[in-house]
Amino acid sequence: MVTMSYAEAGKQALADEMRRDPLVWAVGEDLGRGGVFGQYKGLVEEFGPDRISDAPISEAAIMGASVGAAMAGTRPVVEMRFADFALCAVDELVNQAAKARYMLGGQTKVPMVIREPMGMWRSSAAQHSQSLESWYTHIPGLTVAAPSTPADNFGLLKSAIRADDPVVYFEHKNLWGLEGEVDEAADPIPFGKARIEREGADITIVAWSAMVHFAREAVNTLAEEGISAELIDLRSLWPWDKDAVLASVGKTGRLIVTHESVSVGGFGAEIAATVSEALFGKLKAPVKRLAAPRIPISYAPPLEDEVRVSPARIAETARAMVSQ
């Protein structure tokens, strides 16, 4: 076990995979200088500029060229810099990368990882703060992951690089500096396996990415009050671990899904619907979603905070549901 940051864990996973497979390469703006968040720092020295490749500010070309490079036998890791910027390459991701294998009848696969730093972090306003993970769960052909810890970033990024299909990989910008224990010898973490962050009996809270940490704060508060909450970190949204969620809610009878992205049409709705379909008679309270209002993200801190779901709000909601 080694202590490392979330950013270092991602870097370590990429370096390991690049050593393991010479066909893995990374491409994006400013990678030669370590990437805009330093998550590639030092890699160009080991792997050279062909494999840690700078790119013009051409998101469509970064994504589209990677589709072609993947079809032609390499395994690109695409850096989109901000999830918001990846919207300049949606055709290349949604119409090309996600569809090629199916549309071409299995003649090709498109093994590529699309790293999309997501989420709110200090006053970055509406074009550098979004959490758009639920969009991509809607697209057949894409795998979607959103790790919350250094260990998960290490293990899930390895799985993403080894996957033969495109993986949209959301790292949260507020977590880059988060430190944690990482087992460098651990196997890659498979997609679709949730992590039970905390076991509990009274209510289930499902979260992913940075929201796991807010939810943990709420769980700690609730524990002091004698409420036992089970916290599930989904880790990947497609595929998602239905079995873990249904087993937990089957036990607790109550569910909160919380995410940083907009509530309307968010992935929490899919989870709520699935739980309602499967466990209608066993629910002790209506399923609750705690997510962002459908407003763009503001620059001014007090307005930005309006979009955040706070630990206090999660705890308050859980309290009300348990006392019903």
Binding site: G68, A70, E92, G105, L142
Partner: protein
């Protein structure tokens, strides 16, 4: 529109090579004719975009590609795919959405592909193949191979962002990429020049430092010769190259488009510049008999009629294929079964 380059200097006619072109162009036209018949008979249900009139570009360009070179095409891609060496039976089955199609009937005309001959796909999104082709060229460079990656797109594509991004990419990384603009004068059903600023595709490529050549795209010899030089330059490490082939789309945008937006006199005039007839005239002048040339046409028609009959007789794909090849992780049947 173009007129025949009747003042071209006398050339050495490579009879064997241009005979192959002539046969191939007839095969492409016969395939398109059969596809149009299938469309009329409502056996092709989706849109098809015939390449009638543009056969010299497919033949002349692809004659310079090896089987393991990469080709990426457009929605108007039947001719390119045949010219790259794809099997016509599999292609027609794909157009009809039948078992045994190149893509098992899941892609149809606009996504025709045959990876066994390096044809990495036509594309339903205008210009989208340009970045993909640049990326295939990027992989060639990373792997140290001596292949080239060639993309063919229409004149409409030069107004899309990927045109700039992909060409810039190919030049910045000095990739073995050849870009071919099939300039038929129409972007869908609008005259391209009405919607295009500046002097056009070659100037745009040259502005990025990519050498560009413009040829009469209805002259298969000119296309062949230009493509040979450009492909070899790209293959030998010279960086990307650009070819503009001026041509004319003798049919509408799709099989359903009667193209009333252009005067019939213009179309009649364009038929006089038929690339197949021009190639035939060249070969006739070089001593090939009319009987032999006529046989190319009748052979091609017979071949593609049989291809069509075969496709008509083929079964639909197994329903299970609807759930196959989505992705390795997660079984889509599980979701489907919920309902």
């Amino acid at each position: 529109m173009n007129s025949p380059n009747t003042s071209a200097p006398a050339r050495n006619v490579d009879v064997a090579r241009h005979t192959d072109h002539h046969k191939l162009m007839h095969r492409i036209r016969a395939f398109e004719t059969a596809a149009l018949k299938a469309n009329e008979e409502k056996l092709v249900l989706g849109a098809i975009h015939p390449s009638i009139g543009q056969e010299a570009i497919a033949a002349g360009v692809c004659a310079n590609l090896r089987r393991d070179d990469y080709l990426l095409s457009t929605h108007r891609g039947h001719g390119h795919t045949l010219a790259k060496g794809a099997n016509a039976n599999q292609m027609m089955r794909e157009l009809l959405g039948r078992e045994g199609g190149n893509s098992q009937g899941k892609g149809g005309s606009m996504h025709i592909a045959d990876f066994s001959v390096g044809m990495l796909g036509a594309n339903g999104v205008v210009g989208a193949n340009i970045n993909i082709a640049a990326g295939a060229a990027h992989a060639i460079k990373l792997k140290g191979e001596d292949k080239v990656s060639l993309s063919i797109f229409g004149d409409g594509a030069i107004n899309r962002g990927p045109f700039l991004e992909g060409l810039n990419w190919a030049k910045v990384f000095e990739l073995p990429a050849v870009f071919v603009c099939e300039d038929n004068g129409f972007a869908s059903t609008t005259r391209t020049d009405a919607m295009t600023a500046g002097p056009g595709p070659a100037a745009r490529a040259e502005s990025l430092g990519i050498p560009a050549v413009t040829v009469d795209g209805n002259d298969v010899v000119a296309v062949d010769e230009a493509a040979r030089e450009l492909v070899e330059a790209a293959r030998s490490g010279g960086g990307p190259r650009f070819l503009v082939c001026k041509t004319y789309r003798l049919t509408g945008h799709t099989a359903a488009d009667a193209a009333p937006y252009r005067p019939s006199a213009e179309v009649d005039e364009a038929w006089k510049n038929d690339p197949i007839a021009r190639c035939a005239a060249l070969l006739l002048g070089a001593g090939v008999s009319q009987d032999e040339l006529s046989a190319h046409a009748t052979d091609a028609t017979a071949e593609m009629e049989a291809v069509y009959e075969d496709a008509k007789a083929a079964a639909w794909p197994a329903i299970d294929l609807a759930y196959a090849d989505v992705q390795d992780i997660g079984d889509p049947r599980e979701e489907a079964n919920r309902w």
